[in-house]
């Protein structure tokens, strides 16, 4: 009994709250007669979504593909570099400052430059990569260093090589940290891709989601804009 009740509240309650919020939004827009270019009602957004699905789905695919490519590259680069850092302290000392400089530089500042240097789609990919890279690197590095020091001693006691220590101790210990970094990095890759697409503006030929947002914004087609931001 309590199990099914628990499951009910687990799914039904959030759903009800979500629908309630949408209904409230709809009511506010209708009662106060807010024009759609200021705040479109959810019903209008849904209608636009259905109407423009053919162009929107294409753009969505473009952006998602770039996001996943960037995330994949960030996983290889971030986790790989973290392992390198864990194995050789001099590598960490030499390269970590670069990673930090990249992290603290706002992506909107780099994006226009990259757009000059690179083709727009590649530039978007690099931007998404740059923002996803750091959380994966730093989380994995933290995880690799988190191995129990007594276990490290045990490995030393049995004269285990650094490689064996990595395989049997540091990598498994780092896994939860890595997954945490992956979650953050995944969200950031999408944001990075969209920010770069916006920076690319009309120059963006890739026609990703943000391109549609910018384009719709020019035409004051707010329902399309807000649909993309959701």
């Amino acid at each position: 009994m309590s199990g099914s009740a628990g499951r009910l509240s687990q799914w039904l309650l959030p759903l009800a709250v979500f629908c309630g919020a949408l209904a409230l939004w709809e009511i506010v827009v209708r009662v106060r007669e807010i024009p759609p270019y200021v705040l479109p009602a959810p019903s209008l957004i849904a209608k636009t979504l259905v109407q423009d699905w053919s162009t929107l789905s294409g753009s969505l695919l473009v952006t998602l593909r770039i996001t996943f490519e960037a995330l994949f590259a960030a996983v290889i680069g971030g986790a790989g570099l973290a392992i390198l850092f864990a194995q050789w302290r001099w590598a960490e000392r030499s390269f970590f400052p670069f990673a930090i400089v990249l992290q603290v530089t706002p992506i909107v500042a780099i994006a226009p430059l990259l757009l000059v240097y690179l083709e727009s789609e590649t530039a978007v990919l690099v931007c998404a990569f740059l923002v996803a890279f750091f959380p994966i690197l730093s989380n994995t590095a933290l995880g690799l260093a988190s191995a129990d020091h007594n276990l490290v001693d045990l490995f030393d006691l049995h004269r285990a090589s650094r490689f064996k220590q990595l395989i049997h101790l540091r990598l498994p210990a780092a896994l939860p940290y890595f997954l945490g970094g992956l979650r953050i990095g995944g969200g950031l890759a999408l944001i990075g891709a969209i920010v770069a697409e916006i920076a690319a503006g009309s120059a963006g030929q890739g026609a990703g989601l943000a391109f549609r947002i910018v384009e719709a914004g020019y035409r004051l087609n707010i329902p399309t804009c807000s649909r993309r931001w959701r």
Partner: protein, 251 residues
Amino acid sequence: MPGPIVALKRAGKTFGNGVSALEALDLDVREGEFLTLLGPSGCGKSTALRMIAGLSQPTSGALQWRAGTRPDVGFVFQEPTLLPWASVWSNVYLPLRLTGVSKAQAGPSVDKAIDLVGLTGFERAFPRELSGGMKMRASIARALTMRPPLLLLDEPFAALDEITRMKLNDDLLALKAELGTTIVFVTHSVFESVYLSTRIAIFAARPGRIAETLDIEAPPVRGEAFRLSPAYADYCRRASHALHAAMGRAA
């Protein structure tokens, strides 16, 4: 009588931060004995044990191994320190795995070690599924897989409840009687040291050194009878007295 397995000759340890943990420590570990290092916390017991294990190098003095080099040693930490993602069996297999022994070859040794600590039937359990006492048993089994001639334990039962600790004390004595392993055991409990040891080295602090040693004449496998005997009480009194004298001198 052959010489000691290992002799610490005026071994000293000063850490990088200037803390002098040990000074001119002279200590023999004799074949077959159960030697306990007893002292207040911070007096350098762990440092001495880690030196014997080769996990820490003396900054002065030296260690002399009877065999010329350090043989395999088993080490049990204060916490069970098991790999949380590995089963009991895999944890006990770890030392052999690290030395390159295949699973099939290691099988009998691993099973035997698990049997020795009474964990048969729990091979596939994960550490999180075990009680504190069982985790410590798994940790001891891991230290025994290589059948080391020397077993080092650093306050292994300090975090366990009294009843579990008594049981593990008895089981450790039974293990020692069966395997004949030489044991060096660190504790800050006078009662535990008297109950387990054949010899107690009482440490004085700041800097760490041995203030006194005390031989315990009692049968190798002890029990309630020994714990309730006048001899036990007398040894406890003497050890406690020596400990307080050592601490008083340090203060």
